[in-house]
Each structure stands twice: as structure tokens, then as C-alpha cells.
């Protein structure tokens, strides 16, 4: 069966989700592999969310927030950045390729960038193949 | 061939079982002692920062965590290429003496004493610590519990966590001693010395004065002629914390003496498919199988072997007891397995005296607790005597001190082959054609492994511990022929 990557994207309400919405309303075409989860701020994204996504079968996880300096809640995106970098170190130790977790800043007007991000990330995941962690951790 | 299975072994290190195979005549053909457990410390320590290892390896054993913590701490010092300052070394050894006191007390009174104080043929319901207390009195029982508790309080004071101490840091220790804390330890240590003397008196009065017991110790099927291993100081006296490893042969002549970094030239481990535990042996002789004697590669590392391998004890009262033991048992070296219990009590007294000595040392309240650290050479071996044998930890790290490899030879592991042989000899001695394999006989077989002080000496207390054993005697086709239950 052909591999169809499952990608979970956590998008902050004020910037990146709106940007993703813009891609949609502008009728931009991009790969359909992403399941979007809207959070109020990228600072809301806990490591638990990312890890649960992988555990439940995500092949790749995207984390998007406002550009540095533009966070609706001032500093939330910096927290997100720090958590993301620490998460990358952690998942590498657990045998999950760090390329499967990506962070990118997407503003409300960056519909095109969002579409491009999804396409390139899906391609990356396609090349990596399915993430086997879900089977590995089964009891 | 008929089989007698003893599963699980109780009052022994972790999980263990014994398979006794009887031939058609009813004599013991062979006996296998199997260790069914493994956790894999030597693998999962890889990738950890080396300074975390003293705390992680302490979890190898909950009764002797201090032993692993010390061997590990010493190995880590060498990984960093440093020596701890004198105060730190003395604090470590002081902790270590308290650790020996707690463990040797627990083992003797709960594991050994029932067989001797109450008697090997006494009813099982009496052959436990409660039976001992009945014989020696509740007051004495409370005294045993109290002394053990006091030793543990010293552990908690010096090590933070009472059981899984955290005192070691690369180059030293994390915590010093104040004057008042030191004075408190001196008081406790004086109590330990009295308690050590009391325990030896008890052994003298109850065991040695009893002809039957003395006979079992000297003439029972419990003797194995093996090479003896133990750590000795510069004067060849017994030391638990530091020194060189000395091995003497079955006649008492020195076979070798090595410092920690040299251990790989002298010790190797053998693997059998029927046990998860490996079998160390003397490399220069080679693995000769499960035989004892001068030409065997098997050695033992126990309180008795420590006393055999050394020229004496470093403290005066223990030295007197050492001399008394050897003159009673006919000179050095002693091969009577059950004499391990006696040797253990001599060590208890030594630990108490040494504890007092260290507590009174002016350096012990010193403020210099840690050596200066620099670039990390990245390899280290640490050896101490654990209560049940010589313990070796060997670490390799990268230049950031992240662990690459770990090799550990544990105290009881040294004795794996010896324990197998002791059990077999006892079984062959007591179970013969026509023997009614009774409860008392089974207990005599168990006494063979108990002398080695299995790693788990928790039986400090109580409990209506009988020694229930279920023996199933089966025909070769597996049909149950006889089932003996000792409740």
C-alpha cells in the first residue's frame, strides 16, 4: 500500500492558523496530508501534544506560530521555540528522526508560505517513510 | 532420573532456584543452581552522564546500595583522574562501616541465627527470627533492631537518602560532618563495638559450645577447598573500602595481588545457558568447570575468604577474635563453609571498631570535601569489598564524561560457581539412596547457600517464617511420585 504521510500541525490562532486559512480561501493547492489543530498561542503547545501525536501514529509534526516579536501574547512563541529545540534533542535520543518535527513561523498573511511549507514537509516525510514508533511502543 | 525442584529459593539474593537430579539408585547425580533474573545495568548505563552512575548503580541492590555507590564513586574519581581529599575518603569509609554494620547484623540475626540458635532440626515454625527472639529474649531482639536502625541513621546523615545514598560526587563527597554530628556518631559507634562483642559471645555460647553444631561446621558436607579473595591494605590486613585484591590458594599461599586497573588480567567470566548470572574464575588457571581444589579456577569472595586472604584484622578486638577463630578451626586457611557466619561476626566487630576510629579522627570534620577537577581522562576502575564479596566497577566515558561502556563484577557473582558446588555437596551429603527426604534434610541443604550471605538479607524481621519447601519427586516420565510439603 502506498505510504500516505499523516501530519499533525499545531497552529496558533492569531497568526499561523489564520495564515493557513488564507491559503484555503485563496484556493491555493497544497498536499492534503495535514490535520490542523488550532491553539490560541504556540506557547500553549506542550511537549505532551507533540509526543502524543507521534504515539498515535503521526509520521510528522508541524509547529507554527507568530514571528518573533509579533506574538499576540508577547512571549508565547519564544517558549514554543525553546520547547521545540529541547524536544528535538529528546526525540533524537528516542530514535525518531529530528526531521519529523519542524517549527516554522507563519504570519496571518503568509498563506503562500504555509502552502509551500506543507508541500515541502510532506515530501520530507515521504522520503523518510512511516514513523514506526507507534508499533515499537505497543505493549 | 528423578528431580527435586526448590523454587523459589528464599532468603537468598533475588530470585533463584535449585534443580536436584537423582539417579535411579536414589543418589544425587547433579545439582543446578539457576539465577532467573537479569536487568541489564551494564547496557543501560551507556549514554548517561558518569556522575549519575553512583546513584543509578546503587539500584542494583537495595540492601547493599552503599557498596555499589562506593565502588562507583571510586571509579568515577579515576575517570576524572583525581583523588578525593583525606576528609572525603574518611567520610566515605565511615559511611561504609555503618553500612557493613547494618547489613551484617541483619544477615546474622535473621538468616544465620535461626539455624544455630534454634537449631537446624527444630520445627520450621520456630526456625526464624521470632524463634531466635524467643530463645534470646525480646530485649535482645529489640537491641538488634535498634543497632541496625542506628547504623542506618548514620547512613542517612552522611548520604542524604537513607537507602540509596547520594553522597558521592566526582572527586569527593557532597556533605561534611559537624562536631555535634560527629559526637553523636562516636556514641553510636561505641554501642556498635559492644554489640559486636555481644554477637560474638552469642556465637561462642550458643554455637561453638554446642558439640553438635561444631561438628556440623567442621565435619558436615559443607567444605569446599577453594582459592580465597579479599581486599587488603598496605599491611595485608582486611579493608573493605580500599586496597589491593589479594587471592590466596587452597593452602593459603598468595596466588596474586592486583590493583583495580589490573583486574582484567586476573578475573574472567564464564557463561552457561541455564543461568542469567555469569561465573567468574581466575584467568591464569582458566575455567575448569564445577570442581574445587588447588587446580580449580573457581574462587570465593566471602567474609571467610577475606579473612583467609589477609594476614589479620586492622583493629585490636577484631584481631583477637580472628586469632581465636583460626586456632579453634585448625589454622589458616579455613574451608568450612559454615565458618563464613563466624567470619561475618568478626567483620562486624571490625566494622564497629573502624567506625569508631574514623569518627574520632580529627580529619573527619574537615571542610575540604572535593578535589579540583580538570580535563576528563575517561576511564576508571573502582573496587571495594561488598558484604558478600569483592565488587568491581569499570567505566569508560568520552571527554565530556558521558558513559560509553560499563563492566561490573558483583560481590555475589564471584561466588556463583562456589554456591552451585556447595549446594551440590550438601545435597549429595544428605540425600542418599533410601533417605527419607525430610524437612530437616531440606534445611540442611539450604544452609549451604545461606552461608554466602545472599545479597538480600532483609529477613531482619519477623514473620512466622517457616521454611516451607515443596519437594516434588517425579518419575522420569514426569508423573508425580511423592510430594513433601513442609509448612
Amino acid at each position: 500500500m502506498e505510504f500516505n504521510p499523516k501530519i499533525v500541525a499545531f497552529l496558533c490562532n492569531w497568526c499561523s492558523y489564520t495564515g493557513a486559512d488564507l491559503a484555503g480561501t485563496s484556493r491555493m493547492e497544497y498536499k492534503a496530508n495535514v490535520r490542523a489543530v488550532r491553539v490560541m498561542c504556540s506557547g500553549r503547545i506542550e511537549p505532551t501534544f507533540v509526543l502524543r501525536a507521534f504515539k498515535n501514529g503521526a509520521d510528522g509534526v508541524l509547529v507554527c506560530g507568530c514571528h518573533p516579536g509579533d506574538c499576540h501574547y508577547q512571549e508565547g512563541n519564544y517558549r514554543c521555540l525553546r520547547r521545540f529545540l529541547l524536544l528535538q534533542k529528546y526525540i533524537q535520543q528516542m530514535g525518531i528522526e529530528t526531521e519529523r518535527l519542524k517549527l516554522e513561523w507563519i504570519s496571518a498573511s503568509e498563506g503562500k508560505q504555509f502552502a509551500e511549507l506543507v508541500n515541502s514537509f510532506t515530501e520530507t516525510i515521504n522520503e523518510l517513510g512511516p514513523c514506526r514508533i507507534k508499533e515499537t511502543i505497543k505493549i | 532420573m528423578r528431580t527435586i525442584t526448590i523454587d523459589p529459593i528464599t532468603r537468598l539474593e533475588g530470585h533463584g532456584k535449585i534443580e536436584i537430579f537423582l539417579n535411579d539408585e536414589g543418589d544425587v547425580q547433579n545439582v543446578y543452581f539457576q539465577v532467573p533474573e537479569l536487568r541489564g545495568f551494564e547496557k543501560f548505563c551507556e549514554g548517561r552522564p558518569v556522575e549519575e552512575l553512583p546513584a543509578i548503580v546503587a539500584k542494583i541492590c537495595g540492601v547493599c546500595p552503599g557498596c555499589h555507590h562506593m565502588a562507583s564513586g571510586k571509579a568515577v574519581d579515576v575517570v576524572f583522574g583525581v583523588e578525593p581529599p583525606p576528609t572525603a575518603k574518611k567520610l566515605r569509609e565511615l559511611f561504609y562501616m555503618a553500612h557493613f554494620i547494618h547489613s551484617h547484623t541483619a544477615h546474622f540475626y535473621a538468616l544465620a541465627a535461626p539455624d544455630f540458635v534454634v537449631g537446624p532440626f527444630a520445627p520450621p515454625s520456630k526456625r526464624n527470627i521470632l524463634g531466635v527472639i524467643e530463645k534470646v529474649g525480646k530485649e535482645a531482639g529489640l537491641e538488634v533492631i535498634k543497632q541496625r536502625r542506628l547504623a542506618q541513621e548514620i547512613q542517612a546523615l552522611l548520604g542524604g537518602h537513607q537507602t540509596f545514598v547520594v553522597m558521592n560526587i566526582p572527586g569527593g563527597v557532597r556533605r561534611g560532618l559537624s562536631q555535634s554530628e560527629r559526637d553523636d556518631i562516636v556514641t553510636k559507634a561505641n554501642g556498635f563495638v559492644e554489640f559486636g562483642k555481644f554477637s560474638l559471645r552469642l556465637f561462642q555460647d550458643v554455637v561453638l559450645a554446642n558439640k553438635e553444631y561444631l561438628d556440623i561446621i567442621l565435619n558436615g558436607p559443607y567444605s569446599l577447598k577453594l582459592h580465597s579473595m579479599g581486599l587488603v591494605d598496605n599491611n595485608n590486613k582486611v579493608n573493605f573500602y580500599d586496597g589491593k585484591v589479594r587471592v590466596v590458594d587452597t593452602e593459603g599461599k598468595e596466588l596474586c595481588k592486583y590493583s583495580p586497573p589490573e583486574y582484567l588480567e586476573y578475573i574472567a567470566e564464564h557463561v552457561e545457558p541455564w543461568s542469567y548470572l555469569k561465573f567468574p574464575f581466575l584467568k591464569k588457571i582458566g575455567w575448569t568447570g564445577f570442581i574445587d581444589g588447588q587446580n580449580s579456577g573457581v574462587y570465593h569472595a566471602t567474609p571467610l575468604s577475606r579473612l583467609n586472604a589477609a594476614d589479620g584484622m586492622a583493629t585490636p578486638l577484631a584481631q583477637k577474635e580472628y586469632e581465636h577463630m583460626y586456632s579453634t578451626l585448625g589454622g589458616k586457611p579455613v574451608h568450612a563453609t559454615l565458618a563464613m557466619h563466624w567470619a561475618r561476626l568478626v567483620e562486624l566487630l571490625y566494622s564497629a571498631e573502624r567506625c569508631l576510629e574514623l569518627a574520632m579522627d580529627p580529619d573527619i570534620t574537615g571542610k575540604e570535601l572535593r578535589a579540583q577537577l580538570g580535563p576528563i581522562p575517561g576511564e576508571g576502575v573502582g573496587i571495594v569489598e561488598a558484604q558478600r564479596g569483592t565488587l568491581t566497577h569499570h567505566y569508560w566515558t568520552d571527554d565530556r564524561g558521558i558513559v560509553k561502556k560499563v563492566n561490573i563484577i558483583v560481590g555475589t557473582t564471584n561466588n556463583n560457581a562456589a554456591i552451585c558446588m556447595s549446594i551440590k555437596k550438601a545435597a549429595q551429603g544428605f540425600i542418599k539412596k533410601g533417605t527419607e527426604v525430610s524437612d530437616g534434610i531440606l534445611n540442611l541443604v539450604e544452609m549451604a547457600f545461606r552461608a554466602y550471605d545472599p545479597c538480600f538479607s532483609c529477613a531482619t524481621h519477623s514473620l512466622p517464617g517457616q521454611m516451607p519447601l515443596i519437594i516434588e519427586i517425579r518419575e522420569p516420565n514426569g508423573e508425580l511420585k511423592q510430594r513433601l510439603i513442609r509448612d
Binding site: E46, P47, R52, F54, K55, L81, R82, R83, L86, K89, Y90, Q93, M94, I133, I137 | D7, R11, N30, Y32, Q34, E37, G40, K43, F44, G47, R48, P49, E51, E52, K59, C61, G62, P65, R149, A156, G159, G160, H161, T163, F164, V165, I169, R174, Y263, L264, E269, H270, V271, P273, W274, Y276, L373, R400, G401, I402, I409, C458, L463, G465, Q466
Partner: protein, 324 residues
């Protein structure tokens, strides 16, 4: 003076364990006599000579309370977990290994094959040219010998059977055990099934007496030996990783008393499923850098995130083992 109340039937069993939890039970010291007055120990392989066969012959729910310590590492551990579940009214996951997987759980960074290779072949002191490995069935001249099967990964007790309560700690602090024991014996109402008992609900930081300030900001992490600990200030504020913020209180901050940072043996506080993930979140919050290069520089000094954040809880965490 014994009342007419029947004694509590108590069992203590150890699986892939070290004995520390059994020692914690013994460390009741003089109170032992009170314990024995209120309870009959009906199974405790370390201390009593009651065999597996005796447990098998007990009626179901015969045992009132079983304190099960140790992780589930092999087939014997699993078998005993199932057996004791059947025979016990209340099954307690006692200690870190049973509750979370514990230190043996670190083996989930490797596979069975890697572990066996290291121990039985690669070990520098081992001479084994034929590559002998322990086998679950061995035919010797006299007959057959059996060993339990070593699983590829470690599990906690609740990943194996239904568990009524957990008492956390490595080992649980004896005073906490006595509190629980007294509550049970006195007939007090027990908390809802599945609860963690014998511990607090908040984190270690709540108990710990080290000085904390309002503003925690970290610009550099230090290995414990890189600093001179002042013995007074919060470890995290000195730049030393301490698992206190993500660890349940109840142990009496015993490691802190020994001047060592907490490593998380009491498991997650109330309401937290994965303590490592929470710790990552907490650390990210207090790093005082904004640029990716600066943040990465700070994180460089966190040398073993997985092993530090999941020291005791790897098998029960979300990503519960490393992908081989």
C-alpha cells in the same frame, strides 16, 4: 491485647527489583511488632518460605493487600503479577519500578539482543567465544532446565494488570508506608481506585527547604560537579538540573538533604501523566534566551535529556521505548 478483628492478610512480592522496597518495609524498625500484631504476612519470598505453589492454591481474593514491587521484565514477573492480581483484594504498585518502570526501565533504550550482546559477549571480562546465551529451555545430561523469558521491553505493573493503588518512591519513604498501613488497618475509607497514596499531591518544590526566588532564569546549565553548591539555593537557580518541579512530594526531600538534586523517583505530581514532558516544558520556560543559536547553546549542556527526564519513568511515558 488483640481484639476480635481479623488480622489483615498482607503479601509483599518483588519482580524485577533490587530489594530496596522490601528494605523499606523492614525499616519500620521497632514498629515491626505493631505491624505483626495487625497483619499476617502470607507471602514474602525474601523473608518467608512460602512458595509460588502455596499462592496458587490460595482462594481468589484471599490476600487483603499485596504490595507488589519491581518492574515486569520477564515471563516470571508477568506470571506473578497476574497470579497476585487474582489472589488479592487490593493490589498496590509499590515503589517506582512497579508504578512507572523504575531504573530497570532504562533498559527500554536498548533491545534484548543489545543487552545480551553487551553482557554475554562484549563485556571485557567475559570469555564466551561460542556466544552462549541464557536459554529458556536447556537440555543437560540429567534432564531439562528452564529459565523465564526475558522480554524485549520493561513494563510497569499497571501496564500488565489492573492496579488498585500506587505508592510511589524509590523506595517509598517508610513513614508514608506506615501512614497508609495505619489507615487501612483502622478501617478508614480508602481514596478512589487508581489513586496514588502515601504521598502528597504537589511537587517536590513545595516540600524542599532550599531558597527559591520569584525569578528563575537560566542562561547556562551546569553538571553538578561544575559548581560549588552553596547548600542553600535552589539547584535550578544554580543552573543544576533538578527534577523537583515535575516530581511528586512525599519523600521528605531526602536527596536534597544529601546535597544532591532530585532525580524524580516519586513520579509525576497529581494531574500529570508524563513527568518528563512536563519537565521539558518547565525548563523551556525558564531558559533566558530568545535566539535559536543561543537557546541551542544552553541546551548543549543538557547532556542526556531522555535519561534525565525519564530516569524512573521511561516505560510508562508517552514514548515508552527507543525505536531500535
Amino acid at each position: 491485647m488483640e481484639g476480635s478483628k481479623p488480622k489483615l492478610k498482607l503479601a509483599v512480592y518483588w519482580a524485577a527489583a533490587c530489594g530496596g522496597c522490601c528494605v523499606s518495609v523492614l525499616d519500620v524498625h521497632e514498629k515491626l511488632f505493631d505491624v505483626v500484631a495487625a497483619a499476617d504476612l502470607v507471602f514474602w519470598p525474601i523473608a518467608l518460605d512460602i512458595k509460588y505453589r502455596d499462592v496458587e492454591e490460595m482462594p481468589d481474593n484471599h490476600i487483603d493487600v499485596t504490595l507488589f514491587n519491581g518492574a515486569v521484565r520477564n515471563s516470571e514477573n508477568e506470571h506473578m503479577a497476574r497470579l497476585l492480581r487474582k489472589k488479592s483484594k487490593i493490589l498496590v504498585a509499590y515503589g517506582s519500578c512497579a508504578q512507572l518502570g523504575g531504573i530497570p526501565g532504562l533498559a527500554n533504550f536498548s533491545t534484548k539482543e543489545e543487552i545480551f550482546n553487551r553482557i554475554y559477549s562484549e563485556s571485557e571480562s567475559t570469555i564466551n567465544p561460542e556466544g552462549v546465551r541464557p536459554e529458556i529451555l536447556v537440555k543437560v545430561a540429567e534432564g531439562n532446565l528452564h529459565l523465564p523469558e526475558f522480554f524485549n521491553d520493561v513494563r510497569s505493573l499497571s501496564q500488565t494488570v489492573d492496579v488498585d493503588y500506587s505508592i510511589p518512591g524509590c523506595p517509598p519513604q517508610t513513614e508514608r508506608l506506615l501512614e497508609v498501613f495505619t489507615a487501612i488497618v483502622s478501617g478508614a475509607e480508602l481514596p478512589p481506585k487508581g489513586s496514588v497514596i502515601g504521598a502528597e499531591t504537589k511537587t517536590q518544590c513545595d516540600e524542599c527547604i532550599r531558597k527559591k526566588s520569584e525569578n528563575k532564569k537560566i542562561r547556562k546549565f551546569y553538571r553538578p560537579w561544575e559548581i560549588q553548591d552553596d547548600g542553600i539555593t535552589c539547584f535550578m537557580e544554580q543552573g543544576v538540573l533538578c527534577m523537583g518541579p515535575a516530581t511528586r512530594a512525599g519523600c521528605g526531600y531526602r536527596c536534597i538533604k544529601g546535597n544532591a538534586p532530585c532525580r524524580g523517583c516519586y513520579g509525576p505530581p497529581a494531574g500529570v501523566a508524563d513527568p518528563g514532558a512536563k519537565m521539558m516544558s518547565a525548563i523551556a520556560s525558564i531558559i533566558d534566551e530568545k535566539e535559536p543559536e543561543d537557546i541551542s547553546r544552553v541546551l548543549e549542556d543538557l547532556v542526556d535529556p531522555a535519561g534525565s527526564f525519564y530516569r524512573f519513568s521511561l516505560p510508562s511515558s508517552i514514548i515508552r521505548r527507543k525505536m531500535p
